[in-house]
Symmetry: C2
């Protein structure tokens, strides 16, 4: 059972191999994600992880951990504040900001923070889970 | 140059192999996405594509086609209305609903429609591109 105010966090590091695979399966093969020589000449100086790959940690947590099995994804928004780099540690932080037990729905604030505690992605998710939002 | 009212569309079909790969690289290995036997006993009757994988078509189009190179992703939201299935045809439709030429920013409405023309994912994106929003 998940209640208003509950929190969860998950540590994650993205690696270049998986970023290359994400580029392949989505077709998003922009060199800024996969070509370190190209990326050297951009303002970021090195390859950055696709926004949708880095933010997919939110979705993974919702589907498999918090709330987990049976979760139906209704809504997600994402503000991309800063680039996400490979081989650096990030932490995804979650906080339940609204629960509707009648409809078995919850709203969860989600933040991806870098190792300095700075938010790089922030958003909210709306989920339905008939076992957890009760 | 991209102007207010411009539209773009992109046909896409998701295959089970790529869904399995997405599950691997994200860790979102919920059986509803990858196990057809398990999925038979769900309300959907067959595996459904991860929301973040299906919606990543928006991101791929922004980064590589419309507006394309140099796009900085600032914001995306997504309402998930209905499941997305493998091996079915979908079309991602885009419409520019706001342009700020001073800040080189644009807001784009994005819809993923199924083969019956029904929206399955809908949202807006906010992008920056100094070559296209001029």
């Amino acid at each position: 059972m998940i209640k208003l105010g509950d929190t969860y966090s998950y540590n994650i590091t993205f690696n270049q191999n998986n970023v290359n695979v994400f580029a392949e399966i989505t077709g998003d093969n922009n060199p800024i994600h996969i070509d370190s020589e190209f990326a050297k000449n951009t303002p970021f100086g090195r390859p950055i992880v696709h926004g949708f790959y880095s933010a997919s940690v939110f979705s993974m947590v919702f589907g498999t951990k918090f709330p987990g099995e049976g979760t139906i994804y209704m809504y997600q928004d994402m503000k991309f504040f800063a680039p996400v780099f490979v081989e650096e540690q990030y932490v995804a932080k979650f906080e339940v900001i609204e629960v509707n037990t009648e409809k078995h729905r919850g709203t969860i604030k989600c933040i991806l923070e870098n190792k300095d505690g700075k938010p790089v992605i922030e958003g909210i998710a709306k989920l339905q889970n008939s076992k957890q939002f009760v």
